[in-house]
């Protein structure tokens, strides 16, 4: 419970930061002020300035927006495709369809994720949108597998048997009886994938494959500040800490949610 509150508080701060950045940032993130470059944190620039004299605090705010948006949409793609696939596989357990979906899952899992993301951006060009696609694709099998596993056990439960006796079709049962019972599980898994998505976005942006300039991005801020770490350490520390805190918050929230929703599991976790 405490973990959940902690995590939720951290996540809320970053979501709020992202939301605020739509209407207000202390400085224009696109405006360069080269004479004022590489300043340490001060009253005028809370987090200092970067190598172009841009305000790092403003960039962190807008960067939160990019990270959250990319990870969120990627989770959406994963759920939107993965859950129906998992439901279908469970509904037709042991059929050719089930086998095809599960083998397809294994196949996607078998591809080295980062390499494929790099290939995708090599084909489509680097952009935030393509980062979403690359991360989203690898979320699909995760959700398909989780959904199928949980749905299979639900299919043996009495209320589902009752619905079958009542003559409801597999699609209707999946939608009306199975899916609602999966909501908790999916929310928890969604939180986990969300935090993995933030990390993945940072990694892609770090190798130059995420959102493109002038849009700020935490991962790219890290990459650009790397060579200056010895004389302007704030440039590398601040975006790094932003990533760590967001991911930490999401993980704590995910664990907390799991415990709240399924007390049975609680003995296994902190």
């Amino acid at each position: 419970m405490r973990a959940f509150a902690c995590g939720a508080a951290i996540v809320l701060v970053f979501v709020a930061a992202a939301a605020v950045s739509f209407v207000w940032t202390p400085y224009d993130v696109g405006a360069l002020d080269i004479p004022a470059k590489l300043q340490p944190p001060s009253a005028a620039h809370w987090f200092g300035t970067d190598h172009f004299g841009r305000d790092v605090f403003s960039m962190i705010l807008v960067g939160a927006r990019v990270s959250i948006a990319v990870a969120f949409v990627a989770v959406g793609i994963g759920m939107g495709l993965g859950v129906p696939l998992g439901l279908a596989a469970a509904a037709r357990r042991g059929s050719l369809l089930d086998e095809a979906i599960m083998r397809g899952n294994d196949l996607v899992f078998a591809f080295p994720a980062l390499l494929i993301a790099i290939l995708i951006t090599a084909v489509l060009g680097p952009s935030a949108l393509n980062a979403i696609v690359a991360i989203g694709i690898f979320n699909v099998p995760v959700f398909a597998r989780v959904t199928r596993g949980a749905a299979l056990s639900l299919w043996t439960r009495d209320f589902v048997l009752a619905a079958r006796v009542a003559g409801k079709g597999r699609v209707r049962i999946s939608a009306e009886h199975i899916l609602p019972n999966l909501a908790n599980l999916l929310i928890v898994q969604g939180t986990i994938q969300f935090s993995l998505g933030i990390l993945a976005e940072a990694g892609l942006a770090y190798v130059g494959l995420g959102a493109q300039p002038p849009t700020p991005s935490w991962g790219r801020m890290l990459a650009e500040s790397q060579t200056m770490i010895a004389f302007a350490p704030h440039l590398a520390l601040i975006p790094g800490l932003a990533i760590v805190l967001t991911v930490l918050g999401l993980n704590l929230m995910g664990d907390g949610l799991r415990d709240l929703m399924d007390p049975r599991l609680k003995r296994g976790r902190a």
């Binding site: 080269i34 470059k37 172009f52 004299g53 060009g125 680097p126 790397q226 060579t227 200056m228």
Partner: protein, 490 residues
């Protein structure tokens, strides 16, 4: 007690002596060469390892950019200028032990000129119609027309002399005539060269040179700081140079390169087909801000496509001073008072990626919105360079004396320029230095007045080396790391 002290002193002296004789060098480079044959591709990294060290041509670039004899000891030009006779070095040998002779010269040039040649600079050999072996140490080159820059062309890495026996395997096991022979290549990590004891000329001072490839600027910085690397002749992150300067262990070497860094405009595509729009863009750009912001102050502003260290250089930056007001007026004059949107393609180097962000922000200030598109070199070469599908791009043209590209109809600038074509045609046949310099000056002024591109700055060569190293090249007349004269002081 005294004896012990003496022994100790002797020990110290011995280690001191061992240090004085230090004869190994580890050199850092950002890019690994794809192969080690300078005649088999355009990658500058190949020359940066083997040029002058392993392979030699008939002539070569000296550190100050002049052309000096290499495998050719001397030469004579026929009075009509259509035939050059080269007298070759006697006693030169390839590293596999075979003797170097006129046959090798003929073989190398004919191979580069052949129909199925994959020499990336085949145009260097244009106008040569015959390579005749006169005797073992004399070779004659026949020309269609007098060629003023033959010695210059033959100094390129792409024109080095290879042995027929090893031409096919030079990509992985290069065999040349230089003072160093190839020892080992650990792909992805390093190339090792060792001194060649039967070198025809003055022997190299170093016994062993290791070229280590570190693409990541942070890793390069850490490797220098940790002492893993003795010198990084082209250090990839100018922002770290101040730290090296402050550290007595290191020396920062700032020199010039042949790299004119330009904001290229697609002259064939509206609105950049309009000279007024091009002039507006030129006035919107603050060169010094780009040099300070992208290169941390290293670089010289240029106003045309010409290197400031060349005797024929004319400072034309005054034609396009930073004047956003004027830029807006010119845009209005061209009927674009509302501004417009253009794409800006950026290849990987820091000068382009960082410079591009600054250019985008400066253009936005006068109403030109830019959409930055970052590209890898492979994609840049296909989309921008070959297919000319671009609006603006930032790139450094590192070939020496390459203003002639403005005369080319097929070049990616998208220009058709009869004035430049006439100038360059005249240049080809001139052999007098003064005449040639007059043409260079006229050409510089012509492209500047026509605002063919926005000329940003001459790329500086910023290197870092151990303070005790001597003999490294400060400037970069061609892309090379000539280590034949390098030694450790003290």
């Amino acid at each position: 007690m005294k004896r012990i002290l003496l022994a100790l002193a002797a020990c110290l002296a011995a280690t001191g002596a061992a240090e004085a004789q230090r004869a190994d060098l580890t050199l850092g480079m950002q890019l690994e060469p794809p192969n080690l044959d300078p005649t088999a591709g355009a990658a500058a990294a190949v020359d940066e390892v083997v040029y002058a060290n392993v392979f030699e041509g008939l002539t070569r670039f000296a550190s100050d950019g002049t052309i000096v004899p290499a495998l050719a000891a001397s030469w004579e030009i026929a009075p009509d200028g259509l035939s050059w006779v080269f007298n070759l070095r006697e006693g030169a040998t390839f590293h596999d032990g075979t003797a170097f002779g006129a046959e090798d010269v003929a073989y190398s040039f004919e191979r580069a000129m052949a129909e199925d040649s994959t020499n990336a600079q085949k145009q260097l050999f244009e106008g040569i119609n015959a390579v005749n072996v006169i005797d073992d140490v004399t070779v004659e080159i026949g020309l269609d027309a007098p060629k003023g820059d033959l010695l210059f062309d033959l100094a390129w890495g792409d024109a080095v002399i290879v042995s027929p026996a090893t031409a096919e395997t030079n990509t992985t096991e290069p065999v040349g005539t230089g003072p160093f022979k190839f020892a080992r290549w650990v792909q992805g990590d390093r190339v090792v060269l060792e001194r060649y004891d039967n070198y025809w000329g003055e022997a190299a001072k170093l016994e062993r040179v290791t070229f280590k490839f570190i693409s990541d600027p942070t890793a390069a910085f850490a490797a220098m700081m940790a002492g893993d690397i003795d010198a990084f002749p082209v250090f990839p992150a100018p922002e770290n140079l101040a730290q090296f300067e402050a550290d007595p262990r290191f020396e920062v070497i700032v020199g010039s390169t042949e790299g004119e860094t330009i904001l290229a405009l697609n002259n064939a595509k509206p609105p950049f087909d309009n000279v007024t729009v091009r002039a507006a863009v030129a006035h919107a750009i603050d060169r010094q801000a780009i040099i300070d912001g992208a290169m941390f102050g290293y670089g010289i502003p240029i106003g045309s496509h010409f290197a400031p260290h060349h005797p024929a250089y004319v400072d034309l930056t005054g034609l396009s001073p930073y004047d956003p007001e004027k830029a807006r007026e010119l845009l209005a004059e061209a009927g674009l008072a509302e501004g417009f949107t253009a794409r800006l393609a950026l290849p990987p180097p820091a000068y382009a990626r960082r410079g591009g962000e600054i250019v985008a922000s400066q253009l936005r200030a006068v109403g030109i919105e830019t959409e930055i598109v970052n590209m890898e070199w492979a994609q840049w070469l296909e989309q921008v360079f070959a297919n000319r599908d671009y609006d603006m791009t930032i790139v450094s043209h590192t070939e020496p004396l390459d203003i002639g590209i403005y005369a080319r109809d097929d070049y990616y600038f998208g220009r058709h320029d009869p004035v430049m074509q006439a100038l360059m045609e005249g240049l080809g046949t001139m052999t007098e230095e003064a005449d040639r310099n007059d043409v260079w000056r006229a050409a510089q002024e012509h492209v500047a007045v026509d605002y063919a591109n926005v000329f940003l700055f001459q790329l500086a060569k910023t290197g870092v080396a151990d303070a005790r190293l001597r003999g490294l090249w400060a400037n970069s007349p061609t892309q090379a790391n000539d280590v034949t004269q390098v030694y450790w002081a003290e």
